[in-house]
Amino acid sequence: MKKLGELLVQEDSFEEILMGNQALVRAMVETKTLVVTSYPGSPTPEIASAIQDIPQDRQPFYFEFSVNEKVATEVAFGAAINGNLACVFYKSVGLNVALDSFVQLGLFNIIGGMVVVIGDDPGANSSQNEQDNRNIYRMAKVTVMEPASPEEAYAYYKQAAHLAAAHKTVVVLRLTTHVCHARQKIKFAGYQKEKGYKTEFNKENGPYIPLTVLALEMKRLAMERTGRILPFIRKAKLNREIKSADSQGKGIITSGLTWLAVMDVLERSTYRPNLLKLGVTNPLEREGILSFLRSNDQVLILEELDDILENQIKAMAYDQGLTTTIIGKTSDKDFIGEFTPDKTLEKILATWPEMMPGEIKELGQKEKLPAVTVPDRPAQMCPGCGHRSAFFAIKKALGNDDITVADIGCHTLGYMPPYEVGEVLMCMGASPGIAAGLSLNNEKKKVVAFLGDSTFFHAGLPGLINTIFNHHNITLIIMENGTTAMTGHQDHAGGTIKIETLLKGLGIESVLACDTYSQEKLTGLVKHSLEIDGLSVVIARHPCMLKFTRSQRKKPGYVQKHITIDPAICTQAHVCVEAFGCPSFVRNLDGSVGVNADLCLGDGSCRPSCPEKAIGFEKEER
């Protein structure tokens, strides 16, 4: 197989197994998308890694990681009103950050066209909630396409780009986690290279100033535009109906990945209902849906998260006086989690038990295996992680009553045992503000906020500036690892702007910094900072060891070091395994502690934790 980056810009058509996120990049290339922006967040970061895999001299468009999702949206919008087809992509909750700008997009005459790719995360696989952004798409009056598979992600992006450019508007491509990450073989079309950025901005293409009476006029134009989009949806056949010869008057309406779960479950059914798969979920194509309702006695709507389709479809049926029974969500459970094949089966069984054969009903029950509970395996900070040393050291500086506020990033994991540092978490950049609120009229307890370096630039700055402006009494600890680690090591503004310089420029008097492996020093700096009345900042610095070790391993002559525990000195105090908690430690049945050589980096960050100094470095000749 050719290198991914080379395949993605190859002019001839080809067939290849790709991930949904990677297939999208080919669609961007084929549609001549000219500007692409993003802020990293799962489930979408592989879109960026695919783009960055394309050789520098063959980059088909301009790409940037913007400082946050809002700025990314604005950069893409600016490029698009200059006449360039533009795309911005981010994760589900990234839309919250972008919202102020995002809700305006539908109002404008975007002459180049704009596609917003949003990776929603039903099941909250890697997000702090599983919000249903379809609620927001309705409010923003934007057209939304929902692919079910990588193949459809590729095809729908092309449709979205085509629609956005033709109608000078914005189209949302709503992906979900397992559409982004699925892999399948896809036939990709050829294309002709043609690059040329446009600079066609002209205020006559507007109005571009949504103020006073114009705001309402722009809304009217936006609604008119939506009306013009419906014929496109019909023509492009993005909604698909599959009629059954033996439906017994039953029908299912669904969309996205749930559609594939339905198809899988029905492979096992005793009869098949009629099916309507919606490729466009906003605006709804009324005529097609009404005709489907008319041709069935009972219709089950299977949609994960909120009851967006259900409410609209029920309203349509009511207006038309239809007698079709419409079954949607029946309990709170139906609003929670992904509609996996299991959940889809459960819902179909609850609605039409006779549709499924007896043996599959039994399979729904968990096999009765011997009662062995497999211990949970929560995510961990990696071996050698500087955050572990930081939490171990900082905990020693904190009083029992002090309050710790976490933020988003790898350091969030500090909330878990054995550290339990971080007692409240909200969203990106929220920690300085929450800490400030907690500090009000709170003389007895110190309040400490944690913030990662990428998050600092993303959304942490306003909260920090607020603490200066309003004289709040908090200690902020910036966990600086030099990268956006959690989402796969994307660069951030800290490479260009030194945080320490910025903090001093803001006039913060107490800014202290040290490497987190210097644990005693860090404990001292935090203790000192906690005594300061007002804002104090500690930068707890250590490069991301996952990233660092990967780059070290590529160097010739690299030798993997390990630590070793001297059994003659070890008193089995278990501080290393229980309090420092590096995953490289092994707890043996006889109470002794071992080292998992597959995991240990030999970084030695654990050594200060041992009260007996039993941890040493393994001799190199081994």
């Binding site: 799962s42 699925a182 892999r183 295996l369 908690g581």
Partner: protein
């Protein structure tokens, strides 16, 4: 083939991505209709990683129904048992490595570690075939995944996919020294 489901599980950092892609591409080279999906959440940080591969003419979703997998591959003993309990169907096959990357509750002394005996009891209950893969001879833990691919090839576990298909898949995915080293481990276990 109508349907053949594979569930691959282990811990973040064990190379499940490459393992899954090798099987996926191997199945494709053998002419099977095939799709896959990885679920990793925060797994890069030592959490559970699951990858599913589905082959056949009547599969649609990359996700599978519980207890519907013909083959479960476990790269770590705790995850092997977890995978067995949630994914393997009656009479299916488990291939696993008995090595342990102890999960947090075990290291904290709060839970018992899973033993090979736990696995064999669960297999008996499910009338499942079980193959334990020894990796103690492999110096580099990053090649453990190839020991599993080799074992799958040796026992012809995925119907219709031959050793040559996996070799071709590896040649798609790797180059240079990495390819040579991985192929070497694969061949050792496929023999």
């Amino acid at each position: 083939m109508k349907e053949y489901n594979i569930y691959i599980t282990g811990v973040g950092g064990q190379g499940i991505g490459l393992l899954s892609q090798t099987l996926l591409r191997g199945a494709d080279h053998a002419g099977l209709e095939v799709m896959a999906v990885d679920t990793h959440g925060l797994a890069q940080r030592g959490g559970v990683v699951v990858s599913r591969i589905r082959c056949g003419s009547s599969v649609f979703s990359p996700l599978t129904l519980s207890h519907h997998c013909d083959l479960v591959l476990g790269m770590e003993i705790h995850e092997a048992l977890r995978g067995l309990e949630t994914a393997l169907k009656k009479g299916g096959t488990l291939v696993y490595m008995a090595l342990a990357w102890q999960p947090l509750p075990v290291r904290l002394g709060q839970c018992q570690a899973v033993t090979p005996e736990n696995i064999s009891n669960a297999c008996t209950q499910l009338a499942a075939r079980s193959l334990s893969v020894q990796t103690s001879g492999l110096a580099d833990a990053r090649m453990h995944n190839m020991a599993l691919v080799g074992t799958v090839a040796k026992h012809d576990l995925i119907p219709g996919v031959a050793k040559a298909d996996y070799t071709r898949a590896l040649k798609d995915l790797l180059t240079g020294d990495l390819l040579v080293q991985n192929l070497d481990v694969f061949n050792r276990y496929a023999r």
